[in-house]
């Protein structure tokens, strides 16, 4: 524990920029992630204009996008570019780095009772690599040919051949460079989280006394370490195919008027490598969100989380199964039907631990004493989206059913609800809950209430109708549905979705206003505003290096002693010693 002795508080550069303090790094991740998230969201609004009113000139698009929307109509290849970068930013920059980076960094040392991360320097490096990769990704928007446009999964040969589409030129090279750096950032972060959780827990903080947030971050970090290097390998081989004439993914291709000299590679290999990360990635997003929700639900229901051990068990089970299911993204690639059967089996198994989690949340609410803080509202919203989106997963995970809804809007609806909304709700929930811990000030509750109700209404307004589009056979990533008479009467659905998307987008600006205003002008936070049990609320409001001014508190109980019979208050923080007759629920 000597990693943070070199800090110099008087030095602005090292306090705010090259800080090795986990709390500052968490804030850096939050601000960068939120910034990227708003860019990703704005992109979705731009392409929703095209989808709702295809071919109609829009002065907004012309003003903002310039040459991407000649005469106010978005160009087809730029539509794909927006879709691609929207997906990349939301999945990786907002919901991986923004979510895990912020809350793992903030909460791991604070909730396990450590003075900082195991390696403050690696932590700082992790943030700055993330920053660099964000810059590269944004820079790719301005290069000739535009950014990568082959979908966020960048399947070759489309992504490997510059002749295939404008975005497969320099834009794609930058995408690969950005993601390679992103992966390094993620690995440095994840290794740090794992080591910190295993080695730096305070006295009494056994693994089964850790808050569920920490369990979720722990399993997430392990998933990241196991799967991100595979994506690294995948994009590296892609880079070789693009730049050095190899053909790992290419074979028998005739494009732009000539046959290429490539032989023997297989694009399916890329798909396997990509989804070996791609599917665990879903849980890299979801698990932290679920961990945050567990904590917020217990605190605000003033009730222990129901089935603490079952919750840990299901986090572990979800983590384990998640690396065995990647093939369900590939049922119709021509993969062996036997493999399809195996992946159907493993995929549907995920529903069991997920069901356990849902029922445990419901039982936690039952006979609770619920305080509706904005964080609690988003936690309830997450349970709803997790159910709604999770259930359609039972359809998509079934190979026979997937044949006809694969790559349709049904999938878009499904994953946006179960991963996009749940992930975002979890992140927003965490921001409302731990904002006082991060900035020492409070967010405005009324703006929070309005933000929540507008968000959940518009979110379902956007994504629920997509199931109908999918069941009508509309493929995703179509610039317009107007080329097919079959889809002519679906335009109402698209208009509805686009209008709700705009309401939802505006609602996020209410949140942004609340966030920015409160960072500087919000009322000062008390030490433990939500009367919570976990250790982070025992630290002083003003951030100090090493987190606790004196000795690190010792932990005597599990984190969920809310409304314990016999206790005077409805919460007992973890550092309060056990009473003589008290039963220890954590062990």
């Amino acid at each position: 524990m000597s990693a943070h002795t070199h800090h110099d508080d008087n030095d602005f550069l090292f306090k705010y920029i090259f800080s090795t303090d986990h709390k500052m790094i968490a804030k850096q991740f939050l601000l960068t992630g939120t910034f990227m998230g708003f860019i990703g969201m704005m992109m979705s609004l731009f392409f929703r204009i095209q989808l709702g009113w295809p071919g109609e000139a829009s002065p907004i698009l012309e003003a903002v996008l310039g040459s991407w929307a000649p005469d106010g109509v978005l160009a087809p290849d730029k539509y794909l570019a927006l879709v691609t970068i929207h997906g990349t930013i939301m999945v990786f920059f907002l919901l991986t780095a923004g979510l895990s980076g912020t809350f793992s960094n903030l909460l791991i040392p604070l909730q396990i009772g450590a003075r900082d991360m195991a390696s403050g320097f690696m932590n700082m490096l992790s943030y700055w690599l993330f920053f660099l990769s964000s810059i590269l990704m944004l820079a790719s928007l301005f290069v000739e040919g535009g950014p990568a446009a082959g979908g966020w999964t960048i399947y070759p040969p489309l992504s490997a051949l510059p002749e295939a589409m404008p975005g497969s030129g320099l834009g794609m090279t930058l995408w690969i460079a950005s993601m390679a750096i992103f992966i390094m950032s993620s690995l440095l972060g994840s290794l740090n989280y794992i080591v910190t959780i295993l080695n730096l827990r305070t006295k009494g903080m056994s693994m089964t006394r850790m808050p569920l947030t920490i369990w979720a971050f722990f399993v997430t970090a392990i998933l990241g370490v196991l799967s991100f290097p595979v994506l690294f390998a995948a994009v590296l081989l892609l880079l070789f195919d693009r730049s050095f004439g190899t053909s790992f993914y290419l074979s028998d291709i005739f494009i732009a008027g000539k046959a290429l000299e490539v032989e023997g590679g297989s694009p399916i290999l890329y798909e396997h490598l990509f989804w070996f990360l791609g599917h665990p990635e879903v849980y890299i997003i979801l698990l932290p969100a679920l961990g945050i929700t567990s904590e917020v639900v217990a605190t605000n229901a003033r009730k222990p989380i129901f089935g603490y051990r079952a919750m840990i068990g299901s986090i572990l089970a979800i983590g384990f199964i998640s690396v065995l299911v990647w093939g369900h993204h590939m049922f119709v690639t021509g993969m062996s039907p036997f493999l399809g059967a195996v992946f159907t089996f493993t995929t549907l198994l995920v529903a069991i631990p997920s069901a356990v989690k849902v029922f445990n949340y419901l039982t936690t609410l039952w006979k609770g004493n619920i305080k509706f803080t904005p964080a609690m509202l988003f936690a309830i919203g997450l349970v709803s989206t997790f159910i709604t989106g999770g259930l359609t997963g039972i359809i998509l995970g079934d190979s026979a059913l997937d044949i006809n809804v694969h790559d349709t809007y049904f999938v878009v609806g499904h994953f946006h609800i179960v991963m996009g909304l749940s992930g975002t709700f979890g992140m927003i929930c965490g921001i409302y809950h731990w904002f006082p811990k991060m900035f020492g000030r409070m967010l405005d509750k009324r703006l929070g209430f309005v933000h929540f109700w507008l968000t959940i209404t518009s979110a379902y307004g956007v994504f629920f109708p997509m199931h109908f589009l999918g069941l009508a056979g509309v493929p995703r990533r179509y610039y317009t549905n107007s080329s097919f008479p079959l889809f002519d009467n679906l335009i109402d659905i698209n208009v509805t979705i686009s209008i709700f998307a705009m309401i939802g987008g505006i609602a996020q600006f209410i949140f942004l206003y609340n966030l920015l205003y409160s960072i500087f002008k919000g009322p000062k936070s008390p030490k433990n505003p939500w009367l919570s049990n976990t250790l982070e609320w025992t630290t002083p409001v003003e951030h100090i290096h090493g987190n606790w001014p004196g000795a690190i508190p010792e932990v005597h109980r599990w984190p969920y002693d809310y409304s314990k019979p016999g206790a005077e208050l409805d919460y007992i923080p973890q550092d309060v010693p056990m009473g003589p007759d008290e039963k220890d629920e954590g062990h």
């Binding site: 074979s251 028998d252 291709i253 003033r302 129901f306 039907p337 509706f372 509750k445 705009m502 409304s563």
Partner: protein
């Protein structure tokens, strides 16, 4: 223009809302409340909104089903598609009650157990019985779904056997269109490779391979006979495409460098389906369902399902491969010398011999 008006009114609505919050905030401050601590009044309001939201959510789903249900795909036009639709219906029957029940519980509990300072929450950390219950019940239900699903999947993916006399069709995808090739009387496709692509030979067929001489190549639309199995072979020229035929519940990726396959038996002719959908303009379609470039959204081919007689008549009208200057059958006669010369040459060499 109407839409723009809607957007403008939404923006104005939000501004109005923001002003209202400002007023509420000032009123709250006057009463001595702060801007973050959740009061009893807040709890009551939020708790009441919970069932309201639930009702709105469910009502909107019912509305969507009524308003948009008629736009969903019509009955399956293929034999295996019916088994998929049955499996789909079974899945919905399992999913919907769970969805409704859990949502009712979630929002009911949230409303019912909102904060009351005179009450204490029940300390109920775990119950092995309950946890076992909701591990076992989903396990059993999912086991049934898995078995049912795998059974359906195995039936669908079993290749069509030659005894069933399938129509052999190759679907060839390129940026941005489709070409279909029928195997002809020998029921085998001639060898083809992208390296042979030249001029009109868009499929890259090897003109020295006699198996290809009776292959028939069609564009814009292809025909299928009703109630006879069709075996599709898929190829792609440049990037990954996906052959999606939604009415037949059929989809398979077309991948450069390899062939993929899928088979089905059409059961409803195009004209019958026009009656079922009450739409005279109705047409079965093949579309691309894997992002493949800027015009991905417009890669289509019509599919016509008709009686066996009509199908044979249509196929008879289609031209065979290599009709350049005389029939390819003539090549067959002088096959020995032609093939010798052609093995080291390309399609163009063969043509010049003719």
């Amino acid at each position: 223009m109407l839409d723009l008006l809607i957007i403008v009114s939404v923006v104005l609505g939000i501004i109005a809302l923001a002003q209202l919050i400002k007023v509420l905030e000032l009123a709250g401050q006057a009463r001595g409340e702060n801007s973050w601590d959740v009061t009893d009044r807040d709890n009551k309001t939020q708790a009441r909104l919970m069932p309201v939201f639930l009702v709105v959510y469910f009502a909107s789903i019912i509305y969507q089903m009524v308003a948009w249900g008629k736009y969903l795909l019509p009955v399956s036009a293929s034999a295996h598609g019916e088994t998929i639709d049955n499996l789909m219906m079974t899945s919905w029957i399992v999913i919907f009650p769970v969805f409704i029940l859990t949502h009712i519980l979630l929002f009911y509990f949230a409303w019912k157990y909102s904060y009351d300072k005179n009450r204490k929450a029940e300390f109920f950390p775990h119950s092995n019985k309950l946890e076992l219950l909701w591990t076992i019940v989903p396990t059993v239900v999912l086991s049934i779904l898995i078995l049912y699903g795998l059974n359906t999947w195995n039936n669908i993916t079993t290749p069509v056997s030659q005894e069933e006399d399938p129509v052999l069709i190759e679907l060839y995808a390129y940026q941005f269109g489709w070409i279909a090739r029928y195997a002809g009387d020998d029921r085998e496709f001639g060898y083809a490779n992208v390296r042979n692509i030249e001029g009109v030979n868009a499929l890259g067929m090897d003109s020295t391979d006699s198996k290809g001489w009776d292959d028939k190549i069609v564009r814009a639309e292809f025909h299928l006979p009703v109630n006879r199995p069709v075996q599709f072979i898929f190829r792609a020229q440049d990037v990954i495409h996906s052959a999606y035929m939604p009415h037949f519940r059929a989809q398979m990726n077309c991948v450069p460098g390899m062939t993929t396959r899928f088979g089905y038996t059409p059961t409803i002719t195009t004209s019958e389906m026009k009656g079922i959908t009450q739409n005279d303009e109705f047409n079965y379609i093949l579309l691309c369902n894997k992002i493949c470039g800027a015009a991905h959204y417009n890669m289509q081919m019509d599919i016509i399902v008709e009686s066996a007689e009509d199908f044979e008549a249509w196929l008879g009208e289609q031209k065979e491969f290599l009709p350049i200057d005389g029939s390819p059958k003539a090549l067959e006669v002088e096959s020995i010398e032609v093939q010798e010369e052609a093995t080291d040459g390309s399609a163009s060499t063969t043509a010049s011999i003719n």
